[in-house]
């Protein structure tokens, strides 16, 4: 019986070995056939090119499908407008981020000025106590400089997400609240002009070379300093323009502007007695022709 079993097993092993050899042979033959029929270099390139086109096409469709969801829609804008209408108050301003998000001008209440600047570190924001940052985070692409600049000079008081918009309120730690703005005291000279890449309400003087232009501002309340910015506006002429400030006939300082850069100045008036003073702005220019100058001047406490 055992011998019979052994012969059976032996026979079975031979059968299996034969079968395995046949399988191996068939596999070799199939491999050789496949290798002989392998795609040519051209075909490989063509298949790769077709796949590449397909991937780029599908990727573009996917990117297009994603884009609307990443940007604020009509409802988000309305919600932001309603929020600012409800919670905004005098002394507030709205900063948009990114700076091109000026669709906000259509929803922000008219009483709140909109600032569309990439950076805010050089902006004094006169008269502003609170800033609402109206941002589309998905569109920022890492360019959140405005928020970082605000965070350095303000406390983050409130943040709300409205769809694809984010509204964050910043309470400025040291708001610049001027005692007087010279532009308010000379409506005939005041204008909204572009200086330093932003709209500025400033006094516009058109100096005549060789003839000083003197503009009196009576009874201006003065405090610690007389500060502001000046820039030349577009026009003919390349002469530098000097803007001097006289208080009760005595010059307290001057700023010289030679190009369109928004040039800051701060003149010390702390040594003067507190109260109102007669201020004169004297604008002089050399050369043959001079460009108009845009002057922002604030009396700071």
């Amino acid at each position: 019986m055992a011998a019979l079993l052994a012969r059976l097993l032996h026979h079975l092993r031979d059968l299996l070995a034969t079968q395995a050899r046949e399988w191996l042979h068939a596999a070799r033959e199939a491999g050789a056939t496949a290798w002989a029929l392998r795609p040519t270099g051209d075909r490989v390139h063509a298949v790769a090119a077709a796949l590449l086109l397909a991937v780029v096409g599908l990727g573009a469709v996917a990117a297009q499908a994603r884009r609307p969801g990443a940007l604020p829609d009509e409802l988000d804008w309305r919600a932001a407008g309603a929020l600012l209408e409800r919670d905004g108050r005098p002394g507030d301003a709205v900063v948009v981020a990114p700076a091109w998000l000026e669709r906000a001008r259509q929803v922000v209440p008219a009483a709140l000025p909109v600032v569309a600047a990439r950076r805010l570190d050089g902006e004094r924001l006169p008269g502003v106590r609170r800033v609402w940052l109206l941002a589309a985070p998905a569109a920022l692409r890492g360019g959140g400089e405005a928020e970082r600049d605000l965070s350095r000079r303000a406390d983050r008081a409130d943040a709300q997400r409205l769809g694809q918009l984010e509204v964050i309120r910043f309470d400025l730690a040291a708001p610049a609240l001027p005692l007087a703005e010279l532009a308010d005291r000379a409506p005939d000279l005041a204008a909204l002009r572009e200086a330093g890449g932003l709209p500025r309400r400033c006094l516009v003087f058109q100096p005549t070379p060789g003839a000083p232009l003197v503009r009196p501002f009576p009874l201006v309340p003065l405090g610690r300093s007389l500060a502001g910015h000046a820039a030349l506006l577009p026009g003919a002429g390349d002469a530098p323009v000097r803007v001097a400030f006289q208080v009760e006939g005595v010059e307290v300082g001057a700023v010289e502007v030679a190009d369109g850069a928004w040039t800051p100045f701060e003149l010390d008036t702390a040594r003067l007695s507190t109260g109102r003073h007669d201020v004169e702005v004297v604008v002089t220019a050399g050369g043959a022709a001079a460009r108009p100058v845009c002057l922002e001047a604030l009396a700071l406490p």
Binding site: H45, L53, V56
Partner: protein
């Protein structure tokens, strides 16, 4: 009619119908306004010319000096606008009849050439590759010289190619002469297209070098055949000495045609052409964005991939032909590669004309569409021979669908469209790139303006082409009682199209209106393209 012609005819008619249909709504950029204004004057002068030729000549010279360019495109669009108006197409659509005809001609030409290169699949694909993108379709609607220059550039290239390949000497000579005429007309449309002449010269020079190499490689055979008597079929020496008719024709007939269209040059033919060429290539003026870079950012990514594939495929064919004996293929592919690459190379080098949008590189685009379509057809044929048409169709859909989708979404703001890699218009705005070509987006707020402006309101147009509001009014897109304001102080409403450069005028308008709050606007990817500001009470 052969299927080649049937496809070309159908594609051309479809392009004509689409251009006429869409042309009534698209905004007017500043270069189109300038072309139409000059075109009206040119047409008027030419109509009077038979009666007073000397006066007409002086007037044309003065006008070409004023515009600083040849006047062929202006003449075409001027006469076409007159015909369009008489045909009752309306002030806007009628003025763009010339553009619609040019689009149809270009489409048919591209289809014919693509059929010759890659058969019916390529002929069907190439026109779609050329037009199914917002920027390209929008440009095709406009009566500007740029799209007109493209078919002439392509025709000159194709005729030059045929002058080297045609089976009989007579056909070669005819094709060469037509190459010169097409080249001359192209330069008469846009002066910077003169670069085709050195491009053809370079092609000839490269061919000579290649022939010289072949001649050096095969001297014994030549000597034997020359000794035997009749000239050999491939007489390398004779071919080496021959100057192509197309090149000679372009350098003589072509330049003469171009000079005829630019009478301002006649008074001082030594100095003025140089000054005109320097101006045509924008020397001394920096472009807002390099047009080659702008093309890469503004076109849909799959379209760019198809164009790149077409260039690679042509380069591979050229390399293969140079290694083997495919002289004809080498000539053809080298010519198409040069014709496609030279405007792009010029733009990349900062020598392209200072034109808005993709206008500077337009001559390259039809050639790229041809090469792209041929490459897709070839890829499908090699990758899956048994299902080549189905695969070519599927690839075509994948390449064209994103562009078509963007086209449907962005019209009539197509000139503000940007591709996916840059993140659309929002990505471009973040980089400070141009938001539109020349104030054409103002057309998108005309409905609001007509619906909400107070009766008789005075409108200040900032960044909008002069003459455009009048055409909008004539086309019924703008209420007739709204009058144009000359200054911010005299305005009740300000329509501000956001273009590159200073915004001082806009801010002055805010100051004069007493409001910086927009009452209406047009946006693409939330990027403001145009906004309307109103004096209190002027917006209902």
């Amino acid at each position: 009619v052969s299927s080649r012609r049937r496809i070309a005819l159908a594609a051309g008619l479809a392009a004509l119908a689409a251009a006429l249909w869409l042309g009534g709504r698209e905004g007017i950029p500043r270069d189109e306004a300038a072309t139409l204004a000059a075109g009206r004057r040119v047409a008027g002068i030419l109509i009077e010319a038979p009666a007073r030729p000397a006066v007409a000549l002086r007037a044309l010279a003065a006008l070409s000096g004023e515009t600083g360019r040849p006047l062929l495109a202006e003449a075409l669009h001027g006469f076409a606008a007159e015909a369009g108006a008489r045909a009752g197409l309306g002030p806007l659509r009628g003025a763009r009849l010339g553009a619609a005809l040019v689009a149809a001609l270009l489409t048919a030409l591209v289809a014919l050439a693509a059929f010759d290169l890659g058969g019916a699949p390529a002929a069907l694909l190439a026109p779609a590759l050329l037009w199914l993108a917002p920027r390209l379709a929008t440009q095709g609607l406009l009566a500007t010289p740029d799209v007109l220059g493209a078919p002439l550039w392509l025709a000159a290239v194709l005729c030059f190619g045929r002058s080297l390949e045609a089976p009989s000497p007579l056909r070669r000579t005819n094709a060469g002469l037509w190459a010169g005429v097409a080249f001359g007309l192209a330069v008469a449309v846009r002066l910077d297209l003169w670069i085709l002449l050195p491009v053809l010269g370079l092609h000839w020079l490269l061919g000579r070098l290649h022939l010289a190499r072949l001649a050096r490689l095969a001297p014994p055979t030549l000597a034997e055949e020359e000794a035997a008597g009749p000239p050999p079929a491939e007489d390398w020496g004779a071919r080496l000495r021959r100057i192509p008719t197309g090149l000679g024709s372009a350098a003589t007939v072509g330049l003469a045609i171009a000079a005829l269209a630019f009478p301002w040059l006649w008074a001082d033919p030594l100095h003025r052409p140089l000054a005109a060429l320097a101006a045509a290539h924008g020397l001394g003026a920096a472009p807002a964005v390099n047009p080659a870079l702008l093309a890469a950012a503004a076109l849909p990514a799959p379209l760019l991939a198809a164009f790149a594939l077409g260039l690679l495929h042509a380069a591979a064919r050229l390399a293969r032909a140079l290694r083997g004996d495919g002289g004809g293929t080498a000539r053809q592919d080298a010519l198409l590669l040069l014709a496609a690459a030279s405007p792009l190379a010029l733009a990349a080098a900062g020598l392209a004309p200072r034109l808005d949008g993709l206008r500077a590189v337009w001559p390259a685009l039809p050639v790229l569409a041809l090469l792209g379509a041929r490459a897709i057809a070839a890829v499908a044929e090699v990758a899956w021979p048994a299902r080549r048409h189905a695969l070519a169709g599927a690839l075509g859909v994948l390449v064209l669908y994103p562009g078509a989708r963007a086209l449907v979404r962005d019209v009539p703001l197509g000139a503000s469209s940007y591709g996916e890699p840059i993140g659309g218009a929002a990505g471009a705005a973040a980089l400070g790139w141009p938001r539109q070509d020349g104030g054409e987006a103002a057309a998108a707020v005309l409905d609001d303006l007509s619906a909400h402006a107070a009766p008789g309101a005075r409108v200040l147009w900032l960044g909008v082409a002069p003459g455009a509001p009048e055409r909008y009014r004539g086309a019924g897109l703008l209420r007739g009682d709204l009058i144009d304001a000359a200054s911010p102080a005299a305005a009740d409403l300000a329509v501000v199209a956001r273009t590159a450069g200073s915004r001082d005028a806009e801010y002055q308008a805010w100051g004069a209106l007493g409001s910086a709050r927009a009452v209406a606007g047009a946006y693409l990817d939330e990027v403001p393209l145009v906004q309307v500001f109103a004096r209190p009470g002027a917006w209902r």
